[in-house]
């Protein structure tokens, strides 16, 4: 039966996250963007909500909740509404946890998951993007060759939390295949570069990786001999990022809408002019449109169906949408949107990242 209302359980999760986003994230996000640091208590506070590790099966120490991309989409939107950099930091461990839970071997689960069920945030992550303008996930430049174990070679960038991560799931090309490899901290041949300086998500610590004949054990190929389902991981990532784009866009819409009702020009609120009001209407329509596309893709993934087309459409739509909407957010506020006293310029900078962000979040 067609429906657009989240379940009671989903509503509860959304409300909890919304509360956290409002009370905690929104209080500090500007400071964090300026300083480039996110206070540990925010990250630990989010960790305690159990959003990330809850999908780990009970036998490995987790809550054993059934994974749902749709629920993940809902909470990712709320977190990103709070702040995108924090949201990506908070959800970064999912980049490694979810693939292992869904596709890892028993040994991999046993080895890596229990350590991620503690009370404190533990950094693990994945390396997906590569530093080229024509980066194409269908043809990773990073390669994995079989030599007893595996030997990885290549460059990665935009790897969240790489410096402090216990292990990193590295995406690479193995022959014609795309597979993931678990690279532990300190592995020989793994070099983690300086922290990257980007236009937006400045509070999120991201790094370049250099893999030079990095040797890992044969057992560290995700899923063992069976390998992983790359398309599914890519689609779960597209849904996560599209949801985050919706969250960022909604933040900008709400803020500029409220501003436009307060700000007076020519003796009336600027929102009383169609030039402004129509921008706001378009923003709201586009946010909803992108959300519905994203939900549909997530729903399909939850049914374990191939959702490549839906996820790609949702992601590309959301990429365009968030840029347009956050641009309008700045435009509605004029000069006040351009100064850093107000948040819309931050959302505008963050929005530009989405076309680049691939594989940087997963739900």
């Amino acid at each position: 039966m067609i429906g657009f209302s989240p379940s009671e359980e989903q509503k509860m999760i959304v409300n909890t996250v919304k509360q956290f986003a409002t009370d905690v994230m929104r209080k500090k996000f500007r400071d964090c963007d300026e300083s480039g640091e996110i206070p540990a208590e925010i990250i630990d506070g989010a960790w305690e909500l159990g959003l990330v590790a809850s999908c780990i099966p009970e036998q490995f120490g987790g809550a054993g909740w059934e994974h749902s991309a749709l629920t993940g989409s809902l909470l990712a939107e709320e977190l990103a509404w709070g702040d995108l950099a924090m949201a990506m930091h908070i959800l970064a461990p999912s980049l490694a946890i979810l693939p292992i839970v869904e596709m890892g071997t028993e040994e991999q689960k046993k080895k890596y998951l229990p350590a991620l069920c503690g009370n404190k945030f533990t950094a693990v992550t994945a390396a997906f993007i590569e530093p080229r303008y024509d980066f194409d996930p269908n043809e990773f430049g990073t390669t994995a060759g079989r030599k007893g174990g595996y030997v990885l070679n290549g460059e990665k960038c935009f790897v969240p939390l790489a410096a402090g991560a216990d292990f990193i799931l590295v995406y690479a090309r193995e022959g014609k295949d795309r597979q993931c490899f678990i690279v532990e901290r300190g592995a020989k041949g793994l070099e983690i570069g300086e922290r990257e300086q980007n236009m937006g998500v400045k509070a999120l610590a991201t790094y370049e990786l250099n893999l030079k004949d990095c040797k890992i054990a044969a057992g560290n190929r995700l899923g063992g001999d069976k390998g992983c389902d790359f398309n599914r991981l890519a689609n779960l990532s597209r849904v996560a990022l599209a949801s985050m784009a919706v969250g960022v866009a909604r933040a900008s819409f709400e803020f500029s809408r409220d501003y436009a009702k307060e700000r007076h020009a020519f003796g009336e609120p600027i929102a009383s002019r169609q030039a402004i009001a129509f921008m706001l209407a378009d923003m709201a329509i586009e946010v909803d449109a992108a959300r519905l596309l994203t939900w549909e893709a997530a729903w399909k993934l939850d049914r374990k169906e191939d959702a490549t087309r839906e996820a790609c459409l949702a992601k590309s739509y959301a990429d365009n949408m968030v840029m347009l909407v956050t641009d309008y957010g700045v435009q509605v506020m004029g000069g006040h949107g351009y100064v850093r006293d107000n948040p819309v310029e931050l959302w505008f900078r963050n929005a530009r990242g989405f076309t680049t962000f691939t594989g940087m979040a997963i739900v």
């Binding site: 039966m1 067609i2 429906g3 657009f4 209302s5 989240p6 379940s7 989903q10 749709l70 303008y133 024509d134 980066f135 194409d136 996930p137 269908n138 398309n231 890519a234 809408r257 436009a260 009702k261 009336e268 609120p269 929102a271 009383s272 169609q274 009001a277 129509f278 706001l280 209407a281 378009d282 709201a284 329509i285 909803d288 449109a289 992108a290 519905l292 596309l293 939900w295 549909e296 729903w299 399909k300 490549t308 087309r309 790609c312 459409l313 949702a314 590309s316 739509y317 365009n320 076309t355 691939t358």
Partner: protein, 393 residues
């Protein structure tokens, strides 16, 4: 629950609508585009027979999806198909049970009939509060006077069948919007005549009529809603309730035409060995692939907005905001996507040999009737801002 799955029964209904669109509409699509004002009687009779068996008699999500399928076949022929149409939707939205029986029962029996709604006048379109047509009470009757234009299916409802027309008129000009009421007039009522059929850019298989009312007397209880003028907005609510149903339906029409263009474009590209690669980065996609993805995602987004508005309607949730969102988005998407399809096909798109140019002409009306894109955007903006029409003009 968030769910996108239609029941097996509803899927079958939508599939049936698609079959009809493909097998009955498409083969005669071009003919009736080139022979404006001819009546496709074979199709009319078939569609009427289908209606008798329950085809497309319900609204809601499934109804909208079926409308999308039929308009995938041909938007003009869909409008030309007999049934209560927008007039019926108005009676359904604002009428009493007694009125449903009296005015709508005819659409399940006898010869083919159409229904129409008359709102627009020579001097007013979007600003329906400026309606000049009058309804004056005379004992047990109302006496209607005025001129209505752009009445979709007015000719077939009133001249070719024993249909109904819902007419908007003011019972008190000094009361403004509050004095606006809607009235049902049955075909054959003295004092009502169809005067002119418009020649149009597209949807040529549908008729668009001018209807004149000269001392047209109708029974008192043909008024939809209450006769008294109550609050400032009361009288207008009937019209607005109608839009809650009709806007998503018109949006569904738009999306049918749009998908027709998309499907045909995909077929033409496939013939030339071009397959859209959804999962390659933009830097590696061709311009056509990028365009196609943008077009398809816009169609799909509008499609989901329509389904959401219909889902709200089915569940009894207020949907005026979402209905206008869906209509604004779908009208614009249809217009832009069908234009782009013509562009991408080059001379093959512009030529009347294929249907691309027709899709573009047919699509455009959807950004105009049942509220222009601008009016729907205005409705959305007012609701988002919680502004009255005085606060946001």
């Amino acid at each position: 629950m968030i769910d996108f799955e239609l029941s097996a029964e509803d899927k079958a209904k939508v599939a049936e609508a698609h079959d009809i669109a493909q097998n009955l509409f498409r083969p005669i699509s071009r003919y009736y585009d080139e022979h404006e004002h001819e009546d496709p009687w074979d199709l009319i009779d078939t569609m009427w027979e289908m209606r008798g068996k329950g085809f497309l008699t319900g609204l809601g999500i499934t109804g909208a999806l079926m409308v999308e399928e039929l308009c995938w076949g041909d938007a003009g022929l869909y409008l030309a198909s007999p049934g209560p149409g927008l007039g019926g939707a108005a009676v359904f939205a604002a009428g009493t049970q007694e009125q449903w029986g009296r005015f709508l029962a005819r659409y399940g029996q006898g010869k083919p009939k159409w229904g129409a709604m008359a709102m627009t006048e020579p001097g007013c379109g979007s600003d329906t509060s400026a309606i000049q047509a009058t309804a004056v009470r005379d004992g047990d009757y109302w006496v209607l006077n005025g001129e209505k234009i752009f009445v979709t299916m007015g000719h077939r409802a009133l001249d070719l069948s024993e249909g109904i027309i819902v007419v908007w008129a003011t019972v008190d000009k000094s009361a403004g919007r509050a004095g606006m009421k809607s009235f049902v007039v049955e075909a054959g009522t003295p004092g009502m005549k169809v005067e002119k059929l418009e020649k149009k850019l597209g949807i040529k298989a549908s008729d668009t009529a001018t209807v004149i009312f000269e001392n047209c007397r109708i029974p008192f209880n043909n008024i939809l809603g209450k006769a008294e003028i109550k609050t400032k907005t009361e009288g207008f609510k009937g019209a607005m309730a109608t839009f809650d149903v009709t806007r998503p339906l018109v949006a569904a029409q738009a999306l049918g035409v749009t998908r027709a263009a998309l499907d045909m474009l995909r077929d033409e590209l496939t013939k030339r060995g071009i397959k859209v690669r959804y999962d390659v980065p933009r830097s590696k996609q061709t311009a056509i692939e990028r365009d196609f993805m943008e077009m398809e995602s816009n169609w799909r987004a509008a499609h989901l907005l329509v389904i959401r508005a219909m889902w709200q309607l089915q569940g009894g949730t207020p949907n005026a905001l979402e209905a206008s969102m869906a209509k604004a988005k779908a009208g614009r998407a249809a217009t832009l996507i069908t234009q782009r399809a013509v562009e991408l096909m080059g001379p093959l798109g512009y030529s009347r040999k294929l249907l691309f140019e027709k899709f573009m002409r047919d699509a455009k009306i959807n950004d105009i009737f049942e509220g222009t894109g601008q009016i729907n955007t205005l409705v959305v903006a007012r609701r988002l801002l919680d502004f009255t029409r005085d606060q946001l003009k």
